[in-house]
Homo-oligomer: 133 residues x 2
């Protein structure tokens, strides 16, 4: 159950490449459509690949969008807490970490006897480029 991953399977590679090439988050069904030419036929093929990729930390799920993005920093394994800034106009997603936020939420958990498994931080709004336009 380490954070490292061995070789990806064909389906996992196809899904990851699709996300990496995309210029924003994709829904599972959009991924499916883009992989029809590669033989994908059913949602489960996408969801199974995503499940593994999420486990490897190569892909993130955006809960407020029901969509997925390739990790922007796939080399820094085990980033503790990840935050996303999502532009509602252009769809661009900025992935960042904030140690203070992580520490504060950790402190709340400790004080309340809560054992955190996964933390979601998503900011919806408008990016600098879109505000300029």
């Amino acid at each position: 159950m380490s954070a490292t991953h061995q070789e990806l399977t064909r389906n996992q590679t196809l899904v990851l490449d699709t996300l990496a090439k995309a210029d924003g988050p994709l829904s599972a069904y959009t991924i499916l459509d883009r992989l029809r030419a590669d033989g994908f036929r059913a949602p489960l093929q996408v969801y199974r690949a995503l499940e593994k990729l999420l486990g490897f930390g190569l892909v993130h799920r955006l809960e407020s969008l029901n969509a997925f993005v390739a990790c922007a920093h796939p080399h820094c394994h085990a980033h503790g807490l990840i935050a996303f800034a999502i532009c509602e106009d252009c769809g661009q997603v900025d992935e960042f970490s904030d140690e203070v936020v992580r520490e504060r939420l950790g402190a709340w958990s400790s004080q309340n006897g809560f054992k955190a498994e996964k933390t979601t931080v998503e900011i919806r709004g408008h990016c600098a480029s879109c505000l300029a336009a």
Copy 2:
């Protein structure tokens, strides 16, 4: 467009009461089922009421659950940033605010020219009670 609200309509009252009586988050369709006896027949009746209640700040949406909860502090209008700790075992939700987290995410937004509209902070894990058991 103020945060205050006038009288709630019948449907809004029914939906809010259902959420307030529940011991955890409810999906829109669960709310619908619980209101069949009151004449609810279609999802839209629930979604329309939720839309207003969300606007009034009387209800929150949990993005990672696709579910809704009554606000735990309905009297303090305009709470800036709200975080949720969600127990995956018992479903209990703890709603809290952290000024430091709000300030740090605000700082990131300022530095990156991002205009935040809505921020989601959700911690999934196990509550103290469930850990004890």
